[in-house]
C-alpha cells in the first residue's frame, strides 16, 4: 500500500452501474490524487451520486473497479472501507446527542470512552461548535447540523471524505460561508475530498478539479479555470457558466487556429481537433468576454469581430446585459461591466462586437 500524503488516492476504472437495463453510470474512469478536492458536477440523473455511492460502498458496481490507495475495495462492505461520508440531509442520528453522533464512528472502532470524549471535543472545535456536545440534533440549525455531520465524518481521521450535496438544503449565505469552511478544512486536514454537487458555482469555488458528469459519463475533467476557459464540448460550455453558441463553417487553419465563417465574417477559434474545411461547427464564447468595439474596452488582439443589432438591453447594476442579433439571426448575449462613463445602448441600434481569439472555443 502506497501512502502518498495524508489523503487517499482513488482510482475509478471503467466504472459502470446498470439498473434493469438502464445505465446510471456508463464507464467512468478518474484518477483522484492524494489530498485532492475533486468535485463530481452534473445535473440530476447524470450519475454523480451513484458514482459516489459506489465509492462509499452503498452500491455495487455492475462493472469496473474502484481502488483506494491502489487496492480494490469493490468487495469490501461499506463499514470496512474507512471512508468519511456527509449526506445532503445530514443523516444525524436523532436519538443521540451531538457528542454521541460524533463519537459514533469512534465507538465502532473500539476507541475508549475518555479518548472518544477528547476526540469529539476536538472535532467540535474544528467545526467551530465547541460545547455543543450535549445538545440534541433537532435543537440545532441546519448549518449547525451540517457541521456536526462534518465533524462526525472526520473525527476518526479517514483518509477520504465523501460529500453528497452537503450544502443543498441551506440558504445561499450559509452555503457560501460553509464553502469557505470546507476549503479551510480540506487545507487543514490534507485528506482527499470527493464532493458531489449540481451547483457549478460551488464546484468552481471549492474544487481542485471538477469532473463534469453527463448521462453517466465524464464530459470533461480538469481544474475550474480550464473547464471554464476551454470547455471541450457544448454540454460543458453550457453547464458551466453561460455561453454563446455560434454556428460556423470551417474555412481553413492559420497559426494553430481554426478559421471559420460565421454570420458573414471570418473568425478564429482555438481548437484541439482538426476539422476539415467545409465542416459545420459550433463556436462558443462567454458573454462577459464580448466587447463593443467602440466601448472603450478594446479586446486584446488577435480579436474576432461581428456586426450585430441590439434587440434587448437590461441594466443589472454591476453590469449591463445586452441581447444581440447577428446578420444570420443568431442570438448573442453580451455582458458589459457598468460604468457611468459608458454609453448605454438601446434596442434597435447597430453595433460591432469583438472578442479575443483565445476566448473563442470550437466545441
Amino acid at each position: 500500500m502506497t501512502l502518498a500524503g495524508r489523503g487517499a488516492s482513488v482510482a475509478l476504472n471503467s466504472l459502470e452501474k446498470r439498473y434493469e437495463g438502464f445505465g446510471a453510470v456508463r464507464g467512468v474512469s478518474i484518477d483522484i490524487r492524494s489530498g485532492e478536492f475533486l468535485t463530481l458536477l452534473g445535473p440530476s440523473g447524470s450519475g454523480k451520486t451513484t458514482t459516489l455511492m459506489m465509492i462509499a460502498g452503498f452500491e455495487t458496481p455492475s462493472a469496473g473497479d474502484i481502488a483506494i490507495d491502489g487496492r480494490s475495495v469493490v468487495a469490501l462492505p461499506a463499514h470496512r472501507r474507512n471512508i468519511g461520508m456527509v449526506f445532503q440531509n445530514y443523516a444525524l442520528f436523532p436519538h443521540l446527542t451531538v457528542a454521541e453522533n460524533i463519537g459514533f464512528p469512534l465507538k465502532q472502532r473500539g476507541v475508549a470512552k475518555a479518548e472518544r470524549a477528547r476526540l469529539v471535543e476536538e472535532a467540535l472545535e474544528l467545526v467551530r461548535l465547541p460545547g455543543y456536545g450535549t445538545r440534541q440534533p433537532r435543537q440545532l440549525s441546519g448549518g449547525q447540523q451540517q457541521r456536526v455531520a462534518l465533524a462526525r465524518a472526520i473525527v476518526f481521521k479517514p483518509r477520504l471524505l465523501l460529500m453528497d450535496e452537503p450544502l443543498g438544503a441551506l440558504d445561499k449565505q450559509l452555503r457560501e460561508s460553509l464553502q469557505l469552511e470546507m476549503r479551510r478544512l480540506h487545507a487543514d486536514l490534507g485528506i482527499t475530498f470527493i464532493y458531489v454537487t449540481h451547483d457549478q458555482e460551488e464546484a468552481l469555488t471549492m474544487s481542485d478539479r471538477i469532473a463534469v458528469m453527463h448521462e453517466g459519463r465524464v464530459a470533461q475533467i480538469g481544474p475550474p479555470e480550464e473547464l471554464y476557459d476551454r470547455p471541450e464540448n457544448r454540454f460543458v460550455a453550457a453547464f458551466i457558466g453561460e455561453s454563446n453558441f455560434l454556428p460556423a463553417t470551417v474555412r481553413g487553419r492559420e497559426e494553430g487556429h481554426v478559421v471559420a465563417e460565421c454570420a458573414g465574417s471570418l473568425v478564429r477559434a482555438t481548437c484541439t481537433t482538426n476539422p476539415a474545411p467545409g465542416e459545420s461547427v459550433t463556436l462558443a464564447a462567454r458573454p462577459e468576454r464580448l466587447r463593443f468595439v467602440d466601448g472603450g474596452w478594446p479586446a486584446p488582439p488577435p480579436a474576432n469581430r461581428l456586426a450585430v443589432t441590439v434587440t434587448e438591453a437590461v441594466f443589472v447594476g454591476e453590469r449591463c446585459r445586452y441581447v444581440l442579433r447577428t446578420g444570420d439571426g443568431t442570438s448573442l448575449v453580451l455582458k458589459e461591466p457598468s460604468s457611468a462613463a459608458t454609453r448605454r445602448r438601446v434596442a434597435g441600434e447597430t453595433a460591432e462586437v469583438a472578442w479575443s481569439v483565445a476566448d473563442t472555443i470550437l466545441v
Binding site: 462509499a56 460502498g57 463499514h79 470496512r80 461520508m85 449526506f87 443523516a91 436523532p94 436519538h95 459514533f104
Partner: protein
C-alpha cells in the same frame, strides 16, 4: 378533554365573544366526545360502580377478592400468559415488521398476509389451532415424519397451545406499529451508520432498534392490554388450569353475580391502566412519538 369542551357547549353566552376559529374544532370533536361519554364511558362507569354499590355501598367485594386464592392464581396466570405472548409477538413480529418496512413491490401482498388473520374470527382461528396442535395434528405428524420426535408431543390443551394461538392472533398488533415506526426511519441513517464503520448488527443495535422503539412500545402496549382480556382462545386450546381473568369474569356474569364480576373487571381495567401509565412514565411514549414524527 370533556372538561375543556363542556363549558363551551353549556354556556353559549360566554362564548359569544370567543374567536370562532377556536370554537370550531371544539364543536367538531364534541359529537365524538358526547358519543364516547354516553355510549362508552357512562355504561362502563355504571358497570364498575356495581363493585362498590351492590347491594349497598361496600368494599366487601374487594375484600373478598383480596382473599380469594383462586383469583390470585388466575390473575398471576393471566399476567404470565400476557408476558409470554407479548414477548413472543415481539420476537416473531419484529423481523416481519422489518421485511414489511423494506418491501416495495411486495408490500401489498405482505400486508395482506399479515392482515389475513384479522379477517378470520378468533373462534375459527382457535379451532384451526386445535386441529394443528393435536397429538395427531399437522405439527406433530410433521415432526414425527421428519424423525424429530418418536412419539407425539402434547401441545394442545397446554399453556403452550394458548401461547402459540394467542401469539398468532395478536401478531398483527405488534407488526403494524413496528413496521410503521421502521418505515419512518430515514434510510440514509442506516447508510450513514454503515459508512461510519458500523457492521449490520451494530447498525441494527445502535440505530434501527432505538429508532423503532416508539413502534415497539406501541406494539407491546397493544398486545399486552389486548391479551389481558383474552377468553375464547384459552378456553378452547388451553389446559385444565389455563383459566384467565376474563373467563372468571364471564363465569361470574353467568352466575348473575354482577357485583363481583364488576370488581374483577375493575381490577382488569386498573391493571391495563397501570401498565399504560408505566409505559408513559418509563419510556415517555409522547416524546418518542415526537421523535419518530421527525
Amino acid at each position: 378533554m370533556s372538561e375543556a369542551i363542556a363549558p363551551a357547549l353549556l354556556a353559549p353566552g360566554r362564548t359569544a365573544g370567543m374567536n370562532w376559529r377556536r370554537l370550531v374544532p371544539l364543536l367538531l370533536v364534541a359529537p365524538l366526545v358526547l358519543f364516547m361519554l354516553a355510549l362508552y364511558a357512562l355504561p362502563v362507569l355504571a358497570m364498575l360502580s356495581r363493585s362498590l354499590l351492590e347491594p349497598a355501598p361496600t368494599l366487601a367485594h374487594y375484600a373478598e377478592l383480596a382473599g380469594d386464592e383462586v383469583f390470585h392464581r388466575i390473575f398471576t396466570n393471566t399476567l404470565w400468559t400476557t408476558l409470554v405472548v407479548t414477548a413472543g409477538t415481539l420476537v416473531l413480529g419484529y423481523p416481519v415488521a422489518m421485511g414489511l418496512a423494506r418491501a416495495r413491490t411486495l408490500l401489498p401482498l405482505l400486508l395482506i398476509i399479515v392482515l389475513l388473520p384479522f379477517w378470520t374470527s378468533v373462534l375459527v382461528r382457535s379451532y384451526a389451532w386445535m386441529v394443528l396442535l393435536g397429538r395427531h395434528g399437522l405439527v406433530n405428524e410433521a415432526l414425527l415424519a421428519m424423525g424429530m420426535l418418536d412419539r407425539p408431543l402434547r401441545i394442545l390443551n397446554t399453556p403452550l397451545a394458548v401461547h402459540i394461538a394467542m401469539v398468532h392472533i395478536l401478531l398483527p398488533y405488534m407488526i403494524l406499529p413496528i413496521a410503521n415506526a421502521l418505515r419512518q426511519i430515514d434510510p440514509s441513517l442506516a447508510r450513514a451508520a454503515a459508512g461510519l464503520g458500523a457492521g449490520p448488527w451494530a447498525v441494527f443495535r445502535q440505530v434501527t432498534l432505538p429508532l423503532s422503539m416508539p413502534g415497539v412500545m406501541a406494539g407491546i402496549l397493544l398486545v399486552f392490554v389486548l391479551s389481558l382480556g383474552f377468553y375464547i382462545t384459552p378456553a378452547l386450546v388451553g389446559g385444565p388450569r389455563d383459566m384467565t381473568l376474563s373467563m372468571l369474569i364471564a363465569q361470574r356474569v353467568e352466575q348473575l353475580d354482577w357485583a363481583y364480576a364488576a370488581t374483577l373487571s375493575a381490577v382488569l381495567l386498573a391493571t391495563a391502566l397501570v401498565i399504560i401509565a408505566i409505559f408513559q412514565r418509563a419510556f415517555g411514549v409522547g416524546t418518542a412519538f415526537r421523535m419518530s414524527a421527525r
